[in-house]
């Protein structure tokens, strides 16, 4: 939570010739059905990057690859210059935090205990040292869950649980933060609040934030760069959000026609024609 932390370098991700696919190898091509092939791109501290694409285009897959949860078929993901494939979960977790789409557990840990788990990568094997301490209340207040700290996590609503998971990632306090569909399970006000927060984590704390999204308008508003998947397995569209999230590109990856609407406030919105 140190606003002046220097995450430069540490937060850079370089993806080199990445290939990934699921299922059985394709007999004719002699390799697996690919989602990605030859994907190469670089991400830097201070960027908020949205990942857009239709269902099955590999948004979650890419996010899992960046967190080191999947092994690429070819190519590599480099975290601050190190190949993630050779890193231990313990060391990855000090650099990358992950906020899942949805999460349930049968065991009724308190909200405080769940948030405190974000400190695990920095603690000893029994979970002592490097605790959040009072920091937990500050984080919880920021996310409007300050009153829930002693409640049973399993009794909360989906949106409340989501904010607890964001709080846990903030406690983890990593230079790279990854979010799988942050808008899911949140009401409209909280969607905006949550994503504004994500953008701030990037712009004012110089972290690298990556989130997958379904809404191009949330991507337009809360990301500095956008990555569009689904335009064919060897072609990704990646660049400054304003230049990338356009009716033409969206039409190409989703297969429906988009148009731009300019609202009274001057803000542009994208919608399906």
């Amino acid at each position: 939570m140190d606003m002046n932390k220097n995450y430069n370098g540490k937060a850079a991700i370089r993806i080199e010739n990445l290939a990934f696919g699921y299922g059985k190898p394709d007999r004719e091509a002699g390799r697996r059905q690919g989602i990605f092939e030859n994907m190469s791109l670089e991400m830097f501290p201070g960027q908020a990057i949205s990942v857009l694409g239709p269902n099955g285009s590999g948004k979650s897959t890419l996010i899992h690859l960046i967190c080191g949860l999947l092994k690429p078929l070819a190519g590599s993901v480099l975290l601050a210059g190190n190949d993630i494939a050779g890193m231990r979960s313990h060391d990855i977790a000090k650099i990358v935090s992950f906020v899942p789409q949805e999460h349930r557990t049968a065991f009724g840990f308190s909200v405080r205990e769940i948030i405190e788990m974000g400190r695990a990568p920095f603690q000893n094997f029994m979970g002592f040292g490097a605790e959040c301490g009072d920091g937990i209340s500050t984080i919880a207040e920021r996310l409007e869950i300050g009153d829930y700290l002693d409640l049973d996590y399993t009794k909360l609503s989906g949106g409340e649980r989501k904010r607890v998971l964001l709080a846990r990632a903030l406690a983890q306090d990593t230079p790279i933060m990854v979010f799988d569909e942050p808008e899911a399970h949140l009401d409209i006000r909280l969607q905006h609040k949550f994503l504004r927060h994500v953008l701030e984590l990037a712009s004012s704390e110089n972290r690298l934030c990556i989130f997958s999204a379904h809404s191009p308008n949330l991507a337009l508003r809360y990301s500095t760069r956008a990555l569009l998947l689904g335009g064919g397995r060897e072609s990704i569209i990646f660049g400054a959000t304003e230049e990338i999230v356009t009716p033409k590109n969206l039409g190409r990856i989703y297969g429906v026609e988009f148009e731009t609407v300019t609202r009274e406030s001057g803000r542009k919105l994208l919608g399906v024609k």
């Binding site: 967190c67 999460h103 557990t105 049968a106 840990f109 788990m117 979970g127």
Partner: protein, 333 residues
Amino acid sequence: MKTKSKIITIAIAAAAFLAIAAYSVTAGNYAIAPSDLWKIASGNQTAGGDKEAFIVYQVRLPRILMASLTGAVLATGGTAMQAVFKNPLVSPFVIGLSAGASLGAAIGIVYFNGSGFAIEALAFSLAVGAVLAAYFFSGLGSDTTMLLLFGVIITSSAQSAIGLLQYFADPEHQLPALTFWMLGGFDGIQSESLKYPFAVSIICMTALFCLSFKMNILTMGDIEARTLGVNAGRLKFWIIVLSTLMVSSCISRTGIIGWVGLTTPHISRILLGPDNRFVIILAAALGASFLLCADDIARTATTGEIPIGIITGVIGAPIFAAILFRAKRSGWN
């Protein structure tokens, strides 16, 4: 719940265990006056003479130690396996352990003349073998549903084989021996029988305690555990190995004893909340106390010996029903 009150709860449970253990030394067909306990412990003569010291050191203490150890082991194993399966309805027997052990004992009884060594060695090997088979068939436990289902397959295959052995067993001696083995019991435990179960179990329980914080993280799910720095696959492997080794080392000697591993972790969570660092210790104390009480009933309720599995079932089932009714209202804590 504050850490301090958790520690106090654990201390009370430990004190209760010691009191039950002390009572267990005095109770039995040959009653020993509580006032004589101190005399025997300090090596002084009592009214009963050498006989009392012999009963305490050669008969009751080994049995009390084994019952306590087995209770603690089953409870610790239950707590750990519940973290692996992220499910509070799991016992240490869930992936084939008890069926494998029973099959081993059945082979020992039917084909090796019921030799104590053969029964114990076969029960231990097949218990461990059954769990490892389920673990490897399921693809190293990466999908716990698969692990559970392969456990079911291994269990029912082993049960068919046991059925076949029962069919061929001599009904005069072998069949009753097998039946009693599968109901468990601490009769005939001597100090020599304690050596291996104690060595294995103390090491495994200590190691599981050292993994208890990581178990907390593991209950969040494998993917999240990994993004929080815990290597979920490796952790699950070690929990399964440690739990299986210690549970097998005890029950290959005592026979199958149900319910302890299922109920005591629940009661511990109700008292302390879900933090495994505390739950695992309290469960061990409660498991030891539970099995010690059950064994006291087994050896003192009648002039003979009631198989302990019957008693743990009679006590455990209603306790578990009460826990479930409570869970229906207010969740698992």
